[in-house]
Every structure is written in structure tokens, then in C-alpha cells.
């Protein structure tokens, strides 16, 4: 058996058999995310049902007693709403009344309602919404009550325009907007598709790569720390096997698990969103995003992503050698990754177009995090900065390779300790 597979099988056996590793890395996050998404999805569906259920019965006090108020009441009845008519209000507390009637929506039709409509003036219906549980669904009751009024208003409009002989389409949409999105020097007629496409390339793809790298780095550093905790590291260094092979196997296992991890969580995330939110079909992207972005963006992003992956793996290798135990492994990876995570999300929340060229240059040179900047820099016309960003990751990878090589092939692989001085104090 080759030394590579010998080490690989040992790694996999250790991971599969170590209950702490399995529980901490897979079972707990899977259960937590699954439960979280499940609960959120079920809760959202339940809230929607609650809104539908609670808006099926409404109370109305008709102070108008005119033809239009009666038409409103009849209209509600015709669309399946259970209407509880109140003759007069003897109770001073409206919430007690609504409680007693078992309704959460209460309409008050004022005395001049029919007169106003007859005179072609805008009429008003006041409504009260009883908030008790303060759940998400309850907050939707207001919209539901408003929707019933709007629906009736639309019904009236149709009647009037039919009577007056005015084209319905004209009344409904006397003015239409025709939207165009401009990116760089290109004009697009479907901005929502453009947005989705740019969002995919400038956020989702770098995010998935970034998350996977973070996971791989953390796993690789922890894996090497476990080697040291189990006191096998010193022995490993004296075995007839290339030291890069030892670390390479750990990285490979980390990459395999990282990809599986991202795939599983990505699947759960997609399942959750598809299950909970129904997007209008027209928002589905059907455009080629690289028709939207400047042509060179794909190359720069590709170079940047490849560089980021290589750099991330080498960073994992170097950091792992400094980890003495699992605790320091977590600290090291946190210290190294937290600023990068922060920087990665910066372009999501700030408008980099307003920043000075110097700041943009600095942002484009931040390792790993700069993959989130590349599409935006390219869209803004700073192709040279997008190129710097892409190439810089390759340069960082090369530097990391030199450092890793020097550490791995010298005694530093054994003596490197990140927290040595702190501990001595």
C-alpha cells in the first residue's frame, strides 16, 4: 500500500471513529441547521395559515347604513368572509369586544361612507387589528385587512369604469414604467435577472468558495492539532515518508469533508428556501452572467478563485503546524480568519464606487476576501484592480508555498509554536 493511501485510510478511520469529531463537525451542526430551518419553515407556514384563518372572520359596525356600505358587507360575504355585524358599541374597550366576538379584524364604516362614494370622493373605512400573540403571522393581519378593502375598491372601480365606458387597462395602468439597468456601458431590459446574475457571480460563488476554504482551514488546523495531542507528530516526522505527503493527506481529507460539508449545507439551504419561499418565475435567471459583466471578469474571477483556493490550502498547512492542541488550533484559525471574514462581507454593505482609488487598491489586495471584490471592481471599470486582485492571490499562494516549504523541510515543523511566548509568561 502506498504511504499516501496508508495515511489517508488512517485519517478517515480516525475521523469516522472519533465520536467527538463526528458529533462536533457533522451531527450537531446538521441537527441544528436542520431543526433551525425546519422550525423556521414550519413557523412561517403556520403564520401564513394563522393570517388566513384569522382574517376569515371580521366584525363590522356599519354607521353608514347606506347602499355602498351594504355592498361592502355583501362583497365580503361573497368572497367567503364571515361577517359579524355590530349594531352599536356599548363597550368602551374595543379589545374586549373583539375578544368576545372572537375576531382580530374590526371594520368601522363611517356615517358618510356611501355619500362620499356617491359624490365621487374617496371614502374611508377604519379598521382595528387586535395584536395578542405578537407573532410574525399576527403582524400580517393588518395587510390582510387592508387587502380586503383594496379588493372591494378594485371591485367598485371595475363597476364604475364599465358603467362609464372607459377602457379598463387605461384606468388600471394609465402610465407604465419601462425599466432599464445600466452596467458599465451595457443596457439591460430585465434588471431583476441582471441583479440575480450579478448576485450569483459577485456573492454566491465567492461566498461558497470562501466558506469552504474557512471550513477546510479550520479542519486542517484541528486535524494537525489532534496529531500533536495524540503525541504521534514526533514519530510521524521520523517515518520514511515525505513530510509534504503527511500534510497533503490531511489537506485532502479536509478538502473532501469541506466539499461534502458545503454540499450538504447548501442542499439544506436550497431545500429550505425552495420549501419556504415561492419566487415568481420571472425572477429566475436565464441570462448569461458573463454577458452582463465585462468579459475579462470571468478570467480575473477564475484566477482569483484558483489563487484563493491554493492560498487557502497553503495557509491551512502553515497554520496547522503552529497548532499545539485543539484549543490553540481554534484560536489560531479564529485569529487568522476573523479579519478575512469581516473583509469578505465589506463589499456587500458598502458602496465601493465612492471610495478613493487607493482604498480600492488596498481592498483588491486583501488575500482571500478580495474574491468578493473582483466582480464589483470589474463592473466599476477598474479592470486593472480586478486583475491585481486575481493575481495577488496567486502571489500570496506562491509566498505561502515558500514559507510552507521552509517550515516543512526544517526543524521548524517541530519547533513552531504560535503561543510559546504567551505561555511562558
Amino acid at each position: 500500500m502506498s504511504t499516501f493511501f496508508n495515511l489517508l485510510i488512517k485519517e478517515l478511520k480516525s475521523i469516522v471513529r472519533d465520536p467527538k469529531m463526528l458529533i462536533a463537525m457533522f451531527v450537531v451542526p446538521l441537527i441544528m441547521i436542520g431543526v433551525m430551518y425546519g422550525v423556521m419553515g414550519a413557523a412561517m407556514q403556520e403564520q401564513v395559515k394563522q393570517v388566513v384563518r384569522e382574517s376569515k372572520t371580521v366584525a363590522i359596525i356599519n354607521l353608514d347604513q347606506g347602499p355602498w356600505s351594504q355592498r361592502f358587507i355583501d362583497y365580503l360575504g361573497s368572497i367567503g368572509i364571515n361577517v359579524k355585524l355590530i349594531k352599536d358599541i356599548s363597550e368602551t374597550d374595543i379589545s374586549d369586544l373583539m375578544e368576545r366576538l372572537g375576531v382580530k379584524i374590526f371594520y368601522v364604516i363611517p356615517s358618510n361612507f356611501s355619500y362620499a362614494l356617491t359624490e365621487n370622493r374617496t371614502a374611508v373605512i377604519e379598521y382595528y387589528v387586535l395584536l395578542k400573540s405578537l407573532t410574525l403571522g399576527e403582524f400580517g393581519l393588518g395587510d390582510s385587512a387592508e387587502e380586503l378593502i383594496n379588493s372591494f375598491a378594485e371591485n367598485i372601480t371595475k363597476s364604475i369604469i364599465t358603467k362609464e365606458g372607459v377602457p379598463k387597462e387605461f384606468v388600471e395602468h394609465p402610465i407604465n414604467g419601462s425599466v432599464r439597468a445600466i452596467i458599465g456601458n451595457k443596457v439591460f431590459t430585465r434588471p431583476e435577472q441582471v441583479f440575480m446574475g450579478v448576485f450569483m457571480v459577485s456573492f454566491i460563488v465567492p461566498l461558497v468558495t470562501f466558506l469552504m476554504l474557512i471550513f477546510i482551514i479550520q479542519f486542517a488546523v484541528t486535524s494537525m492539532a489532534v496529531e500533536k495531542e495524540e503525541k504521534m507528530f514526533e514519530t510521524l516526522l521520523t517515518l520514511p515518508v515525505n513530510r509534504l505527503t503527511i500534510i497533503g493527506v490531511k489537506l485532502l481529507v479536509s478538502v473532501i469533508i469541506g466539499i461534502a460539508y458545503v454540499a450538504i449545507y447548501g442542499f439544506i439551504l436550497i431545500w429550505f428556501f425552495i420549501g419556504s419561499i415561492t419566487l415568481p418565475s420571472e425572477t429566475a435567471t436565464s441570462v448569461n452572467v458573463f454577458d452582463i459583466l465585462p468579459p475579462v471578469t470571468a478570467y480575473y474571477l477564475g484566477i482569483g478563485l484558483i489563487g484563493a483556493v491554493i492560498f487557502g490550502l497553503l495557509l491551512a498547512m502553515v497554520l496547522s503546524l503552529f497548532a499545539e492542541d485543539v484549543r490553540t488550533a481554534q484560536l489560531i484559525s479564529n485569529y487568522a480568519l476573523m479579519p478575512l471574514i469581516f473583509m469578505f462581507f465589506v463589499p456587500m454593505f458598502i458602496d465601493i464606487s465612492g471610495l478613493s482609488y487607493t482604498v480600492k487598491t488596498v481592498l483588491s489586495l486583501i488575500p482571500l476576501a478580495n474574491i468578493g471584490f473582483i466582480p464589483k471592481l470589474s463592473i466599476l471599470g477598474h479592470n486593472e484592480l480586478a486583475m491585481f486582485a486575481g493575481i495577488s492571490n496567486i502571489v500570496y499562494a506562491a509566498i505561502a508555498l515558500v514559507i510552507a516549504y521552509r517550515i516543512v523541510n526544517t526543524e521548524k515543523i517541530f519547533t513552531a509554536k504560535f503561543f510559546k511566548r504567551i505561555k511562558k509568561k
Binding site: 504521534m232 514526533e234 519547533t415
Partner: protein
């Protein structure tokens, strides 16, 4: 140099911060002998062994194992040595047998050789059916016997054992010593071990070197050193040479 499996010349190791781990150590270990490196804590025993095991690199001087330079030909040295660190562990979620197989896979050239190596490991460890249990269930003595077995079973040209019986109870220490001695003589394996147990060294070693403050201050067979210094045992030789200078 041809007679020596290990030869060091003016070996110096200075750690970052200026601390001297080894300060001009020179000695020779001949083929097939059990050689003991003895000295007080901090004398430089472990540093010397780590240099010979290619983990550390000397600041100056030379060290050769089986004729290979430990710095320039480190990968060749690793093919002929087998090293047991003082506080070595093993993969606790593997069984003892799987661990022996894991080590054997690095050295065996074919399946038959692998089986032969594992069989020797099984015999050396003396752990019997417990080898099928996960290592995390082993006592300290059992773990050390397993580690000694994995070190010797591959029949290395040179086995380097750092405090092989450290922390063991009497029964386990005796078992480990006997296994090392028997195997070394039967298979012709050269052994370099460190210890600060004088009785152990006197019992096991053909020759010894006393290291103090990174320097070899005496070298020879235990009997020869005892006679030279006109004392009763190796402990007295050690005290006479090192005296109150233990750091």
C-alpha cells in the same frame, strides 16, 4: 566511520534564545550494540536523539547514521532508523493491530513482508487479544509495550529509544527491557537509548556515554567505567562525574 552506525563529531545545538542543548558531543555507536546515553534532566539526551532522528538540525558539527548525514541525507536516515520518543502516543481510535499495520505499511515492500513485520510486532508487544481493542482502552504500560513493538518490529538498522521505560511500573518496565534486549541480540539491531535509570542502563547496555551540560564526559562499557572510577556501580560513577553540577 565504517564501524560506527552512529558517529557524531562536535555536535552543537543552540536553541533560539541562546540555550545550548548540546555542546560539542562526539561519540560512536557500533553495529549491533545497545548503547546508552545517560545524564541528568536537561543534559542534552533528548536533543541528541532528536538530531539523530532528523527532527532537529544541529547548529554545528556532524552526525551520521549508517553513513548518512542526518542533515543532508535526512530522508535516507529515516529509512534506516526507528524512533520512539519519550512521551509518544498512538492513534487512540485505531486498534493495536491496526496501528502496527499502519507502521508496517511504511516499511514493507510486499504483503508477505508486511505480515512478517506485524507478526513480530504482535509477539514483541505481548498484548495478545487486546491488540484487537482500541488503543484508547490501553493502560500506560500496554501503550508503551505497543510502541516499543512498533519501533523494533521493522528490524531497523538503528532503533532510537528515548527513555523506553519512563513512567512504567516494575512489571511493565522489566517486560519492555527484556523485549528490547532479546530482540536486539536476536536480530542484530543496533539500539541507542537514553535513560536516567542507572540500573536499567547497567543491565541493558553494552556501552554507555554520560552526557552532562551537552558534553560527553565519559564513554565505555558499564563495567569499564565502574572499574576506572573505583566505585561499586554505575550510579556512583554518575554521581562522581556529575556531582552537584546537575542543572
Amino acid at each position: 566511520m565504517s564501524e560506527c552506525i552512529i558517529e557524531t563529531r562536535d555536535l552543537v545545538k543552540i536553541y533560539p534564545g541562546g540555550v545550548k542543548g548540546v555542546d560539542g558531543a562526539s561519540f560512536c555507536v557500533k553495529k549491533g550494540e545497545i548503547f546508552g546515553l545517560i545524564g541528568p534532566n536537561g543534559a542534552g539526551k533528548t536533543t541528541t536523539l532528536r538530531i539523530l532522528a532528523t527532527i532537529l538540525q544541529p547548529t554545528s558539527g556532524q552526525a551520521y547514521v549508517a553513513g548518512y548525514d542526518v542533515v543532508k541525507q535526512a530522508s535516507m536516515v529515516r529509512k534506516v532508523i526507528s524512533y520512539l520518543p519519550e512521551d509518544a502516543g498512538a492513534y487512540k481510535y485505531l486498534t493495536g493491530l491496526e496501528f502496527l499495520e499502519f507502521i508496517a505499511n511504511f516499511y514493507a515492500r510486499n504483503e508477505d513482508e508486511k505480515i512478517r513485520i506485524i507478526r513480530e510486532g504482535v509477539a514483541l508487544s505481548g498484548l495478545g487479544d487486546r491488540l484487537r481493542d482500541k488503543i484508547k482502552t490501553y493502560s500506560k504500560g500496554m501503550l508503551r509495550r505497543l510502541l516499543v513493538a512498533k519501533t523494533l518490529m521493522i528490524r531497523p538498522t538503528l532503533a532510537i529509544l528515548d527513555e523506553p521505560t519512563s513512567g512504567l511500573d516494575v512489571v511493565n518496565a522489566v517486560m519492555v527491557r527484556d523485549a528490547i534486549r532479546k530482540y536486539a541480540y536476536e536480530k542484530g539491531v543496533t539500539i541507542l537509548l537514553s535513560s536516567h535509570n542507572m540500573l536499567e542502563v547497567e543491565y541493558m547496555c553494552d556501552r554507555i556515554a554520560i552526557i552532562h551540560k551537552g558534553r560527553i564526559i565519559a564513554e565505555g562499557s558499564p563495567r569499564q567505567l565502574i572499574e576506572e572510577h573505583g566505585v561499586e556501580n554505575l550510579e556512583e560513577v554518575f554521581v562522581k562525574l556529575v556531582g552537584g553540577g546537575v542543572r
